[in-house]
């Protein structure tokens, strides 16, 4: 999976979620579960994340671009399409 999920941390930095290749769930399902509850997030390409980590702790993100969704209150995958919080893959 070459996608990454980014969100803004409480400290103002950037958290980057790296999906496990073995995980059978979609990037949207992973985002819903693994982004902290209430945090807006953006799904980006792996290439969009800087590979130079020299100043990793100084990374920032404009919250205005975090428009792909908001972290769910659930900490488990919701796979039932009938569930009100089910996230359909795009």
């Amino acid at each position: 999976m070459t996608k990454r999920i980014i969100y803004k941390t409480d400290e103002g930095g950037v958290a980057v979620i790296i999906p496990a290749p073995e995980c059978k769930h979609t990037i949207e399902e992973i985002a819903a579960k693994d982004v902290p509850s209430g945090k807006p997030y953006k799904i980006v390409e792996e290439a969009d994340i800087p590979s130079d980590r020299t100043f990793r702790d100084a990374w920032e993100v404009d919250e205005a671009i975090l428009t792909d969704g908001v972290g769910d209150v659930h900490d488990m995958f919701i796979t039932d399409p009938q569930h009100p919080d089910y996230v359909e893959a795009e």
Binding site: I5, T9, G13, A15, V16, I17, I18, P19, A20, P21, E22, C23, H25, I30, K33, D34, E46, I49, S51, D52, R53, R56, D57, D75, M76, F77
Partner: protein, 225 residues
């Protein structure tokens, strides 16, 4: 067609005599035998040596698409369940007082789910309960952070230099587990974040001896419970 029929009373096939068997033939070839001690053989060419001895598949079910099957083939015993409309799960359990209690199952993904503890001889002189690694991940924390391989980990969250969160695919039952992070490099310390134990994830850090956070090329964590 010839029919042996009893309309209003039991029908008895009686091989009357010591050591005499009841034999059914088809086209002159024996297909079923009930020997003098009550053992039944089907499709075999010798006297049955067990209560029921069958040469071939044993299949039970309600129709042609829902059945369980036992098959001896090429020296192995195959136990399978066909179910064309559901998941083909094989369920193990017991009938106590006529009520079925499930002990465990193989689900359609081949996963073995056991309802209680697993005990086995681990090879170290112990047959006590074995407690397994519930989640693990191996990843490269340098450059473009990438997971090499994992089990029961949906993702890791890169929170900063040497600062990670492992998100579990299936949550732990509680936060009272053991987390064992590691990293490559001399004088590196990988440790769980004291406040980072949750059923859904665990947080951990990697630092050099002086306390500075560090990105390791070989990082990971194992969770035991």
């Amino acid at each position: 067609m010839s029919t042996v029929k009893s309309s209003s009373e039991n029908l008895t096939l009686n091989a009357d005599g010591a050591g005499s068997d009841v034999v059914i033939q088809n086209n002159g070839t024996e297909t079923v035998r009930v020997d003098s001690s009550g053992n039944v053989g089907i499709g075999i060419t010798h006297t049955p040596t067990a209560t029921l001895e069958v040469a071939g598949r044993i299949q039970t079910g309600t129709d042609s698409t829902h059945y369980g099957r036992f098959v001896g083939f090429s020296g192995s015993l195959y136990i399978g369940h066909r179910n064309d409309t559901a998941d083909g799960t094989i369920i193990f359990g017991g009938f106590g007082g006529g009520t079925f209690t499930e002990f465990g199952r193989f689900n359609s993904n081949g996963n073995l789910l056991v309802n209680n503890q697993i005990s086995f001889n681990s090879g170290y002189g112990s047959a006590a309960v074995a407690y397994g690694v519930r989640a693990w991940v191996n990843f490269n924390g340098t450059g473009t952070v990438a997971i090499r391989n994992s089990g029961n980990v949906s993702s890791i969250t890169d929170l900063g230099t040497g600062n990670y969160r492992a998100n579990f695919t299936n949550s732990m039952p509680d936060s009272q587990y053991v987390a064992l992070p590691y990293s490559d490099g001399d004088f590196r310390t990988a440790q769980p974040t004291p406040s980072g134990f949750y059923p859904a994830y665990v947080e951990f850090t990697v630092r050099v001896e002086a306390g500075t956070y560090y990105d390791g090329a070989q990082c990971g964590i194992a969770v035991i419970r």
